[in-house]
Amino acid sequence: MTRAVKSVAIALKVNGENVNETVPVRRNLVDFLRADLGLTGSHVGCEHGVCGACTILVDGVIVRGCLMLAAQADGCEVETVEGADATGRIAKLQAAFHQRNALQCGFCTPAMLLTAAALLEANPAPTREEIRDQLSGNFCRCTGYQAIIDAVADAAEAGE
């Protein structure tokens, strides 16, 4: 038998803006951000935490947006690529990615930027191996990764 899907009211901060919404309890966070808030910069590639395309920040920590329910984000501060772009927090990474052509189709890119930014925050001068290790959970089918590693290294040098 089918039962009606329950909804729950949540209040959170997304990219610095207060959000009050009612969401089905089964809706995951990235679907909520994309479909309910129109923040389509976070992408969905596998829906089970493997490809990394849905990476966002929750309370300052990078998480998989597909592995968390929207209901769990109640009371949290969420940042997506749109927010990181608007504040200029990832500007040096964005510039380095552009110069190095560290993206082709761009589908993995917002998550790559947020994941790389988390590395540079914790480790401002990473080695290439450390960069590769940090990005090991983000699938890119286009670039072969080298330009991405180069770009993150460039951004580190520029003092991201």
Binding site: T2, A4, V5, P24, R26, R27, R34, A35, L39, T40, G41, S42, H43, V44, G45, C46, E47, H48, V50, C51, A53, T80, V81, E82, D85, Q94, F97, H98, Q99, N101, L103, Q104, C105, G106, F107, C108, T109, P110, L113, I131, R132, D133, L135, S136, G137, N138, F139, C140, R141, C142, T143, G144, Y145, Q146, A147, I148, I149
Partner: protein, 783 residues
């Protein structure tokens, strides 16, 4: 012919800025008013008869608007057959948007649910009851061709779909007399493109105007426009296909998929917009796959190590149907055409056989057939070198076609203009000290460390000309058109029929237009991926954008430039050919002295046309077309060199170096070409080391998730050195050849040869991809 900057400059891409800000426009980002969402019930069996379908409970569920079976689509959408008239003997079964009475692969779409949300559509799909009668499944090509095998298409008397063969010289006699013959059986397992954005579309049908607009994650908007018009019986001028940002394609998005056509048909049936985006499992079950070939091949050498003859037999399959609209012949056909191509030899025989069986459709993914042809050829060359005690480098130097051989028609029937095999090897040897490597290899072996070097010389058949699909009877444009419009303010709008899924074709065309007209690159805006606004072209496939789209852009740029100078000549009372356009200014061609700016010319052209006499060509909107003639392919070439280390305890393979020397003629943007090569290499590494669809004995997929189907990730991948040589084609003015598949083409061969070189002390030879740890350890007798 020389071209001015920015042609040949490594400029970053305009489109990238938008994508970096999270402002991409992919399919699932689109939401239209009243839009419904689609989910499918797919066959859980590789082969089963549909006895009955009960939709009653699902149809009554929350949010459900309509449940659709094949019967509901009769009269809405036509069936099709993936024929190719150059292969008239091919058996081609009829395919439908939803399975009618029989499902022939696990994952074939059977029932569709349109609901207010995807979640509700999926909820309802779970409550559709299909009564199945399982049929015996055929899951292997050699089994499929056994006369006792179940026949999966009852219209035919067996599962063999087609055969093709090439023969030159007298290979039987050559092998009989040869002093040295090496022979291997090769196995290339099945994988696919795995674009990070899955297939998807939003179909929007307006019954009041009989107009269909499809936003689709696809490589070929004009092709889709034609298909939707014909199969849905809508006047073609009413059909518009828009391919905005595409999250990776790699060949898997230039086909017609039954589920996507069903979505368009249901949008027409319901008269409201409908979104379908494949989830990852649906992708693995229903995207076009590639490889799955078994090749037996041999090569004959004279006493000095010169290649005398080559033979190969290829066995593969199309899956359950022939891919549409291109047909599934090409992977086998390319193998028999391209194998052995870099080497001088006089006797050649190659045959391919294609079967139908109960797996997803197999067809065109990045570098169709080429990696197999390259790997087979290059491993035979290495085996010959080993048998004769000749160094693999010397073996290649002795046997390459060289400048004195061109032009020629290859053993496989491919017309070759000048290629650069020797020069590519020379450049590689400048970068890689092979003698030093051999010395280090020996030292390391004594310490139990096994490193190997592998070379793979390749030819890529790029930029297919109109004859192949034209004579094949398919509606596939292999020409390109470019439309340029000089705006009144002096900027240029460019519309191309080529498309860009991240390769940077938009940028290459932008650079050609800027260079030919004589304006800053920022003054040119390229628009692509819209079948209504863009002039007719083929989109993106088969490494064609730069060579074909670039040449059309060159022609259009030259025409626009001519008309600008005509207007300027009238205004300045000077001969048009005494003037030039440099950096957006009209200047004296000799002195370089500035006369006027482009916007002054444009303003006259737009607002004061009466100042220009009627007999002066002064159109500021121009189109130009490029259709190659008399050649089917535009061959490019290169060389891969891999240095790997094999851990003989774990079977893991690590890269120490990876070098590609690549020659795709004129480079429009060296950085973007290098990035195409790198990305292609890593896809090749995926196929060579990791990626493989695993099926159980009954033909059911065992690894349909991204956790189980392994793709290359950042940690395992090497930095890839790319060197460019430029041997422009003489068949076009621009001289560019295709580049998009070169990285993938050579990777299998280079890695197989490197691994076998590393394991030479163990006297084992591996010829099956992917080279997984279990395969390595089995070859070493450790498991």
């Amino acid at each position: 012919m020389t071209f001015q900057a920015p042609i040949g400059s490594s400029l970053p891409r305009d489109r990238a800025k938008r994508l970096l800000a999270g402002r991409g426009r992919y399919i699932d980002d689109i939401a239209l008013p009243r839009m419904l969402h689609l989910a499918f019930v797919r066959s859980p069996y590789p082969h089963a008869r549909i006895v009955a379908i009960d939709i009653a409970q699902a149809a009554a569920m929350p949010g459900v608007i309509r449940v659709v079976t094949a019967a509901d689509l009769e009269g809405v959408v036509e069936p099709w057959r993936g024929t190719h008239n150059l292969f008239p003997d091919m058996k081609v079964p009829v395919q439908t948007a939803l399975a009618t009475d029989t499902a022939r692969w696990q994952g074939e779409a059977v029932v569709a649910v349109a609901a207010r949300s995807r979640a509700e559509a999926e909820d309802a799909a779970e409550h559709i009851v299909v009564e199945w009668a399982e049929l015996p499944a055929v899951s292997d090509a050699s089994v499929a061709l056994d006369p006792a095998a179940p026949v999966i298409h009852q219209d035919y008397d067996g599962n063999q779909a087609f055969t093709a063969a090439v023969s030159q010289g007298d290979p039987a006699a050559a092998f009989a007399d040869a002093p040295h013959v090496v022979e291997r059986e090769f196995r290339f397992n099945r994988h696919t493109g795995v674009s990070l954005e899955t297939r998807g579309l939003v179909a929007d049908y307006d019954p009041t105007s009989d107009r269909l607009t499809v936003h689709q994650s696809h490589q070929t908007p004009h092709q889709q426009q034609d298909l939707y018009a014909r199969l849905l019986s809508i006047p073609e001028q009413n059909v518009r296909v828009i391919c905005d940002d595409v999250g990776g394609a790699f060949g898997l998005k230039h086909h017609l998929y039954p589920d996507e056509l069903a979505a368009c048909a249901i949008a027409k049936l319901l008269g409201r917009p409908l979104k379908y985006v494949a989830d990852r499992l649906e992708s693995f079950l229903s995207d076009i796959h590639c490889r799955d070939h078994t090749v037996t091949a041999r090569m004959a050498f004279d006493a000095e190590g010169r290649i005398i003859a080559m033979e190969l037999d290829d066995l593969f399959h199309a899956g359950a149907y022939s891919q549409y609209p291109r047909s599934s012949v090409a992977e086998g056909n390319q193998i028999i055409r391209v194998s052995g191509i870099p080497y001088r030899h006089d006797h050649y025989r190659a045959e391919t056989r294609m079967a139908y069986l109960n797996k997803p459709v197999l067809g065109h993914i990045r570098s169709v057939g080429h990696p197999i042809a390259c790997a087979v050829t290059e491993q035979l060359v290495d085996l010959g070198a080993r048998a004769l005690g000749i160094d693999p480098v010397t073996m290649r130097q002795w046997n390459y076609l060289d400048d004195t051989d061109f032009p020629l028609t290859s053993m496989g029937g491919i017309a070759l203009e000048k290629l650069s095999f020797q020069a590519c090897l020379d450049r590689a040897l400048e970068r890689v000290d092979v003698d030093a490597f051999r010395a280090e290899q020996k030292t390391l072996r004594d310490a139990g460390v096994y490193r190997g070097i592998g070379f793979a010389t390749f030819v890529d058949l790029t930029s297919i000309g109109p004859e192949y699909y034209g004579e094949g009877g398919q509606h596939i444009s292999a020409q390109e058109t470019c439309l340029l419009r000089l705006e009144a303010s002096g900027g240029i709008r460019c519309y191309t029929g080529a498309t860009d899924q991240g390769q940077g074709i938009d940028s290459g065309i932008q650079q050609v237009v800027a260079g030919v007209v004589g304006v800053p690159v920022s003054d040119v805006k390229v628009n692509s991926g819209d079948s209504e606004l863009c002039p007719v072209g083929g989109g993106s496939w088969g490494s064609r954008g730069a060579a074909l789209g670039g040449e059309a852009a060159l022609r259009a740029g030259r025409e626009l430039r001519g008309n600008i100078l005509n207007i300027a000549g009238v205004l300045l009372q000077k001969a048009a050919d005494s003037l030039d356009i440099r950096d957006g200014e009209i200047v004296d061609a000799e002195s370089g002295a500035a006369h006027m700016t482009l916007d002054e010319v444009a303003a006259v052209g737009h607002f004061k046309p009466y100042m220009i006499p009627d007999d002066v060509d002064a159109d500021l909107t121009v189109t130009a077309r490029y259709a190659s003639r008399g050649r089917i392919f535009l061959p490019a070439n290169g060389l891969h060199v891999a240095i790997v280390e094999v851990d003989t305890d774990t079977g893991l393979i690590a890269f120490h170096r990876y070098l590609v020397v690549h020659d795709c003629g004129r480079l429009l943007n060296p950085m973007l070409v290098a990035e195409q090569v790198r990305g292609g290499v890593v896809q090749g590494i995926g196929g060579a080391l990791y990626e493989e669809f695993v099926y159980d004995g009954a033909g059911a997929l065992c690894n349909g998730t991204m956790a189980d189907y392994l793709v290359p990730m950042a940690v395992e991948m090497p930095d890839i050195e790319v060197e460019h040589l430029e041997t422009p084609t003489g068949t076009s003015e621009l001289g560019a050849k295709g580049a998009g598949e070169a990285g993938t083409t050579g990777a299998f061969g280079a890695i197989l040869n490197a691994v076998n070189d590393a394991l030479a002390p163990f006297d084992v030879t591996l010829s099956e991809t992917p080279l997984t740890p279990p395969r390595i350890l089995q070859a070493l007798g450790k498991i």
